[in-house]
């Protein structure tokens, strides 16, 4: 039977892709950020997941406003990292696992989550930057698991509620655990933490709110479902709504988790960056 080993969340700032391409890991600006990842590499090397479910939010590559799914799941043999328009290096395609994707889609729709299935889905920095952070050299890292992308809408309101995001993760967990083969799965939640790119409030960062979210997502994520969507915009910034991905990931991990490592650093680009690794306790 399939097992979920744990979940890893991280910011997915596009500038990270350039920093990796230019080997800036030890640069004084970047070092406090990249120092968060070696403990995650060690954990992945020990546990060697077979599949990575990457929960991210598309930023206008895979989807446009003509047709905007609230929740989309990739069901493709591979996922291409296409040109986003502003010159971050493109990576080679990531191998998928469409049979498992369809199993998840079947299970979740039966659980009354209305999923948009995607047999083609170009993936942007929200998907690939975390892959590069966790599996350096991705997709050519020899330990690179097969990938299933899950994208949630944070481009336009109405966005999902925090409660819906957490429950989505719980239904995803049920779906994965229902897969009959013995495979090991890791779930990613990418984006955040507090940041705002647009408007007179651009550059807004809120460490106090980020720490509140980091504190409670580990052992009491239900508490965070009291935060309204407008409150999330107000406190996390307009793009800090990406915290929804962390909630989706958290829901997939079950009630009992152990925190393995975390890192929090301000600023990277316009963003308060964070990463968190939670291991599932069976």
């Amino acid at each position: 039977m399939a097992r979920i080993l744990g979940g890893i969340s991280t910011s997915h700032i596009p500038a990270v892709g350039n920093a990796i391409a230019n080997n800036l890991q030890d640069d004084p600006y970047w070092k406090p950020f990249f120092d968060g990842y070696p403990p995650i590499h060690a954990w992945l090397a020990e546990h060697r997941p077979d599949v990575v479910i990457n929960i991210y939010n598309d930023h206008g590559l895979g989807f446009f406003l003509d047709q905007m799914p609230t929740f989309a799941i990739g069901a493709a043999h591979e996922y291409r990292n296409e040109d986003e328009g502003w010159g971050i290096p493109q990576l080679d395609p990531f191998p998928g696992f469409p049979e498992l994707s369809w199993h998840i889609i079947e299970s979740m729709v039966a659980d009354e989550f209305d999923i948009t299935s995607c047999q083609e889905l170009p993936v942007d920095h929200g998907f690939v930057v975390p892959m590069q952070l966790f599996w350096p050299g991705a997709p050519h890292n020899p330990d690179m698991p097969r990938a299933i992308p899950v994208s949630a809408n944070t481009v336009q309101h109405p966005i999902p509620t925090l409660r819906r995001a957490l429950n989505f993760g719980r239904a995803l967990r049920k779906a994965v655990l229902g897969w009959p083969e013995d495979i090991k799965v890791v779930v990613l939640g990418t984006g955040g933490l507090s940041h705002q790119l647009d408007g007179e409030r651009a550059g807004f960062i809120n460490p106090e709110f980020d720490r509140y979210c980091l504190e409670h997502i580990v052992h009491d994520p239900d508490r965070l479902t009291r935060i309204t969507r407008m409150e999330l915009v107000e406190k996390a910034g307009a793009q800090g709504t990406e915290f929804l991905m962390w909630m989706m990931m958290r829901g997939a991990l079950g009630d009992n988790v152990r925190e393995v490592t975390r890192n929090y650093h301000i600023p990277i680009s316009n963003t308060a960056s964070g990463t968190l690794l939670l291991e599932c306790i069976e």
């Binding site: 500038a15 206008g60 509620t161 790119l197 479902t225 009291r226 935060i227």
Partner: protein
């Protein structure tokens, strides 16, 4: 931090300073502008825009406010005209502007001041 669960009390009109909620109302207003910016995912479209900005904006049916905001590289005016930052960022890429350049433009700071403000946020 005790708040009622999100639900029927959701209010689009709640005012958050310096922040435009990009909802259906803004999505309707900005559709042509955002569609043009989405096209900039492709290199040939970026080149076509650079070759003749006016013709390219006309092809996508931008209204006068949107065209003027693009001509003036005025990000706040683009947002007021319905632009969504994720698509506008692709337009900014053509001008080689980063999100920090955009932040400085929108807040009336120099890029150095804007970056310093972000660094200060990390020391708090």
């Amino acid at each position: 931090m005790e708040h009622p669960v999100d639900g029927p009390r959701f209010d689009h009109r709640q005012h958050i300073p310096g922040t435009t909620i990009f909802d259906g109302r803004m999505a309707m207003r900005g559709y042509a502008l955002n569609k043009m910016c989405y096209s900039f995912n492709r290199k040939e479209n970026r080149e076509a825009f650079v070759a003749d900005e006016e013709a390219y904006m006309e092809k996508y049916g931008l209204n006068e406010a949107q065209k003027q905001a693009v001509r003036e590289r005025d990000v706040l005016a683009m947002i007021a005209a319905g632009g969504n930052i994720y698509y506008l960022a692709k337009l900014a890429g053509i001008f080689r502007l980063s999100v920090q350049d955009l932040g400085a433009m929108q807040t009336g700071m120099t890029v150095e001041e804007f970056k310093r403000k972000l660094l200060e946020a990390g020391k708090g």
